[in-house]
């Protein structure tokens, strides 16, 4: 019997092989895809529930000098594995229905499996470099999946945007890694988590946090996530809600001792999380596209996770990762059903009254929404409370947390009312089969997952307060009328995206590079051009010198002869008696001279 526990490192291989198989065969995506993920899930379940006696690890080989390709399985990574493969499996099944009759069906499943492979690599990595391989790999898969319908122009631009903002964070990741590698001599987490705090370590922590903001869509690198919604909805559910975006929080959890040794980093992370949570929540309140509402909601919830992680409440953060995976995936898939039913409509202003037409989607989405809003008793309530409890360390952060909770409930309510209530005027049909049944486990999780989380003591005040806030938000959400100015401000996403567009895209990328191009061709190229000009001028002068002066000497010599011979020439008159005269004179002279001698 194969020892599944010690061979835990096979887990990423199932989706890898699945992806490769689908790509080679170009078919069978519907079967191979989910099957690979299911296999990974089951294997993970076996390992999780078996007695392990500490963390398992397995070194495949030495990848680069001093960097081993090594995987480790402890409670944290295995929990992540279960979330990824569990939710992943459900979403794979859902995709069979959602992507039915799409051209490139096999490509979708190959990419999706490819994504899961990298995500698993990320969470099972035992050192920063292997994690980085998974980190960049999920970025690649995200790019491929966002850009799945690559014959639509805006899609590709958004896919590029996602990759690039992630890459910006990755630059920070590399430098942070290098700092830690130099300090600890290795990138293994076990070693890094033992490093004492220092200003340099703080820098490294902040750089890694920057990378996390890229991956988990927080300030300053969050603007890619809403635009990533152009991808197929299951992709949004899996990658941009449940798994990839949680990679940042996972990194914090993995390096919790290191963060604890550098508490200032944690503070920065918490503040970033809280701020982002607030900003994103306000934007979700005024958004019209259902997927974008959910996207900003995800950003906001990730902000809460950042808040918890930054304050050192790793368990709370991971707890919320888990519950969020359930209800956010549920919400996205329900929205997928709606979009599918309405033949591509995504604007909630054109929805309404779907409660009767799509009863199950209605109930599931309400459940998911209530869980998100932190309705007492549901999963979201407990995990959010865990975060709020952790936030009691700082009154400001706590206040922000409550404010975010209120706004969250408000936008959930607003969305649900707009979609399901009121008058309907569209044809819509309920989801069925693979687009419905995977939602049940998610619903169950959204409801009861809260009871499996870490228990808090003395949490009653917070629990009551958050319950009240949640109910108030749900009730008032429908009635909130924001001042127009505020509404416009939120609708323009606090001008952050616009600022990036102007500074990065239009100026730096576009004008900057064109200017540089001009400089290159006209200024830097002056070096050879000036030399060439100088050389050709010098050669002109030299040529002139050669033909005028040097050759002039030769010509002058020749003409001297010519000039001298002219008078002599005159003697040749061609006339005979001139010659005779000369003869006579010569004879006379010579005789005379002889006679005088």
């Amino acid at each position: 019997m194969v020892n599944l526990v010690s061979n835990f490192w096979w887990i990423p291989l199932y989706p890898f092989i699945g992806s490769l198989l689908i790509a080679i065969l170009r078919r069978g995506g519907a079967v191979i895809g989910p099957a690979a993920i299911l296999a990974a899930f089951l294997h993970g379940l076996v390992v999780y529930s078996s007695p392990r006696g500490g963390a398992l690890d397995h070194t495949l080989y030495q990848w680069m000098p001093g960097i081993a390709f090594r995987l480790v399985a402890d409670d944290l990574s295995l929990l992540m594995v279960l979330i990824i493969t569990g939710v992943g499996f459900l979403i794979h099944v859902y995709s069979i229905g959602y992507m039915d009759k799409e051209p490139g069906f096999w490509r979708y499943f190959a990419y999706l499996n490819f994504f899961v492979f990298f995500m698993l690599l990320l969470v099972l990595a035992s050192n920063l470099i292997v994690l980085y391989a998974g980190w960049e790999g999920v970025g690649l898969a995200s790019y491929l999946l966002i850009g799945f319908h690559h014959d639509r122009p805006t899609v590709n631009r958004n896919a590029n945007k996602a990759f690039l903002y992630n890459r910006a964070g990755d630059a920070g990741f590399l430098i942070g890694t290098l700092i830690l590698l130099t300090a600890a001599g290795t990138t293994e987490f076990t070693a890094i988590n033992q490093l004492p705090g220092s200003p340099l370590m703080l820098v490294a922590a902040l750089l890694l946090a920057l990378a996390a903001t890229g991956k988990s869509a927080q300030l300053p690198l969050f603007v890619w996530l809403p635009d990533a919604m152009v991808g197929p909805t299951p992709v949004s559910a899996l990658i941009h809600a449940a798994t990839m975006v949680t990679a940042g929080i996972y990194l914090f959890a993995r390096m919790a001792p290191f963060l604890a040794a550098n508490p200032d980093a944690g503070l920065v992370i918490a503040v970033i999380g809280a701020t982002t949570a607030l900003i994103a929540a306000t934007i979700a309140l005024v958004e019209h596209d259902i997927k974008r509402i959910l996207a900003y909601s995800t950003i906001s919830q990730l902000g809460l996770m950042f808040l918890a992680a930054g304050l050192g409440a790793t368990q709370a953060a991971i707890f919320h990762v888990a519950t969020h995976a359930f209800f956010k995936a549920l919400l996205f898939l329900c929205s997928g059903n709606i979009i599918h039913a309405l033949k591509g409509e995504q604007d909630i202003r054109y929805m309404g009254g779907l409660r009767d037409k799509m009863p199950w989607t209605f109930r599931l989405m309400v459940l998911g929404g209530l869980s998100l809003a932190g309705f007492p008793g549901l999963a979201g309530f407990f995990s959010k409370d865990a975060i709020l409890i952790a936030a009691t360390q700082s009154p400001i952060l706590l206040a922000v947390g409550f404010l975010v909770s209120f706004i969250t409930a408000a936008y959930v309510s607003r969305m649900l009312w707009a979609v399901f209530f009121g008058v309907y005027n569209r044809e819509a049909h309920e989801a069925h089969g693979t687009m419905l049944h995977p939602l049940w486990p998610l619903a169950i999780g959204s409801a009861i997952a809260g009871y499996f989380g870490p228990h808090q003591e003395g949490a009653w005040p917070i629990m009551i307060a958050s319950a009240l806030v949640s109910i108030a938000g749900l009730y008032l959400g429908r009635q909130i009328r924001l001042p127009e100015l505020l509404k416009a401000f939120f609708a323009r996403k606090w001008f952050i995206n616009d600022a990036y567009e102007v500074i990065l895209v239009k100026t730096t990328a576009s004008r900057g590079s064109s200017t540089l191009n001009w400089i290159d061709q006209n200024i830097i190229d002056l070096l050879p051009r000036a030399t060439a000009f100088f050389t050709s001028t010098a050669s002109l002068i030299s040529g002139w010198f050669d033909s005028s002066v040097v050759d002039g000497l030769v010509k002058t010599t020749a003409s001297a002869f010519s000039v001298a011979s002219y008078p002599l020439r005159l003697a040749q008159t061609g006339r005979t008696h001139n010659y005779a005269l000369v003869i006579v004179i010569t004879v006379a002279i010579s005789f005379g001279w002889y006679w005088l001698q």
Binding site: Q572, T573, G574, R575, T576, H577, A580, L581
Partner: protein, 104 residues
């Protein structure tokens, strides 16, 4: 009336006069035939000179040489006339002024 006896000197003067006439004629006349005649005159002047001195020195060498000169003169005249005829046939003129193709 007493006449001076004709000495060698008289012959020499005659020879010189003839030489001079011939030379001047050679130099100053345009017509090539006249120039040839002048050349004959010069040569005959030389002959007279030679014979005069032959008589003076009572030596026959001078007369022998004069015979040579006559022969040469004849040959030269023949050649000269031949050139003259060829010249006239090609150029249509016997005036030396107009025969100056070898002019620079």
């Amino acid at each position: 009336m007493s006449f001076t006896p004709i000495t060698t000197g008289h012959y020499l003067v005659l020879s010189a006069a003839l030489l001079l006439i011939g030379t001047v004629g050679l130099l100053m006349r345009r017509n090539v035939i006249i120039m040839l005649m002048s050349i004959e005159l010069i040569l005959n002047a030389v002959n007279i000179n030679l014979v005069a001195f032959s008589r003076h020195w009572q030596h026959v060498t001078g007369q022998v040489f004069a015979i040579f000169v006559i022969t040469v003169a004849v040959a030269e005249a023949a050649v000269g006339l031949g050139i003259l005829i060829a010249l006239f046939r090609n150029r249509g003129t016997v005036l030396s002024d107009e025969i100056d193709l070898l002019k620079w």
